[in-house]
Symmetry: C2
Subunit: 317 residues, 2 copies
Amino acid sequence: MSFDRGEVREVVAAVRLGNPRALGRVISWIENASPALPMISKELAPDTGRAHIIGLTGAPGVGKSTTVTCLVRGLRARGERVGVLAVDPSSPFSGGALLGDRVRMQEHALDREVYIRSMATRGHLGGLAVATPQALRAFDAAGFDTVIVETVGVGQSELEVAEMVDTVLVLLAPGMGDGIQAAKAGILEIGDIFTVNKSDREGAQALVRELRTMIALANRGPQDWKPPIVTTVAHENRGIAELLEVIDRFQASQAETGRAGARRIARARREVENIALAKVRAEFQLDGEARLEDLARAVSRGELDPYAAADRVVIGL
Amino acid sequence: MSFDRGEVREVVAAVRLGNPRALGRVISWIENASPALPMISKELAPDTGRAHIIGLTGAPGVGKSTTVTCLVRGLRARGERVGVLAVDPSSPFSGGALLGDRVRMQEHALDREVYIRSMATRGHLGGLAVATPQALRAFDAAGFDTVIVETVGVGQSELEVAEMVDTVLVLLAPGMGDGIQAAKAGILEIGDIFTVNKSDREGAQALVRELRTMIALANRGPQDWKPPIVTTVAHENRGIAELLEVIDRFQASQAETGRAGARRIARARREVENIALAKVRAEFQLDGEARLEDLARAVSRGELDPYAAADRVVIGL
């Protein structure tokens, strides 16, 4: 549980100066749940809160990587520094599964103002919830103007990531299964902006129509913002300028209504809660290992119920 | 937070006698996180530990519901009482999304020895982890010999459900996207038995071959059991007898090697841990609401880092 405080201080200082190698080291520490995390987080804090964080989500095959490449290109053209964090919550066992996709972003490989990084989350639910916001803080403190978080797959973890960002961009494409799938994942409720990519393909207009109806029917709660649907053909860079414009418009509207700030506070709150829970969980495991095992045996034999067992765990803390 | 203890006692007693309506009420209580849960769990405990729990997972469209119907038919033919629990972890907002599928199971609608139930998990990560095992305990105490848990979608939550069962059955079908998808979801590592359904379609043999290679390459750890691949055409009931035979063979092997028991203890342990964590989380929210909000504001302004904030939450418990 020990680490070199001097080394950490030096690396974090380099992150705050925007050094990409230092940022890479910090993200590896985060990924591996280094005991230095509280110190890192403390030293990064004063420089956080500036980056605009975009979450980009969608089923495999809709063109997420290509769209990210296009967005990076557009943001770079404005002079922004851009970070990309690809999290793969569905792949606890095969860390780095996304690296193949990253190859497609070679266009930006030599650009010092763009930093692209994959992060596996080791199959730990607490892992995704704790690691992703910390990695985003590191990007933020390193001075990136925009950070794009790309998630893979459909499911709970995508909804989790959506709660960690300023703007949720949902990608769909025709011929990837019907809109019902989108509804199942709950993304109709959480998307701020929808993009129908591969819009030159058959079925694109039908998908836009279906999506429009489903968004209108979705249980989104009272909102000033009606999520627009942008059509793109990312591999030809078509529709990207419009998409960036819609993203700007959304951010302006969020700032105006005060929602941007409220969302950041809610996000910080979940972050604090998740770290606190992870701490408590670690305490169960460190102090109560043998006792937890005994309780589990009793529960598996039907001699004790799990609630009574949980009471003994919590009291024992 | 109060409830009618006499009523709960009566309903739980009826569950233990196998009454399906009582079971339905208990599962609704579980789904809605009733304050009666600790009492229910305590009263059910002595009758638990008997059912064989099968987890069935696979992407939308591979034929999960049809396969479940066939398995139920086969198990009924042996005289078993069979329960089906369909959990939809990816749909926090649209509870009951699976009910449409359930209609397809009409075949068993009038059979008193079969009980089919959907359960939504309200978008709460703790929800799925806590609610599903409790619902399985209720089925178990109600005397069902086999309970099939069907999950929808691909992602972390499916891996979670896999940890709650005795046998993990992974369904695939040709033409549903490539095997790489399967690898991403981590299911290659967790499947005990693989089924290629719709095996009369083009590409089925190629999928079986690809799957065989990928299972061999997957990081499964040392095991005595090599997961077999069964081919089925569920809508014609083909291959189901063989599938049931493989399931029996797996259970016999698990019992022989002692893995069945070890798995149940590990399961009970996770269950206890998750309930304990949910308790702690509830305490954060009840006692520390205003303070948590203040801490979150400070974090969102960069005045405090989230680890320092989490320390104050945990100390304040």
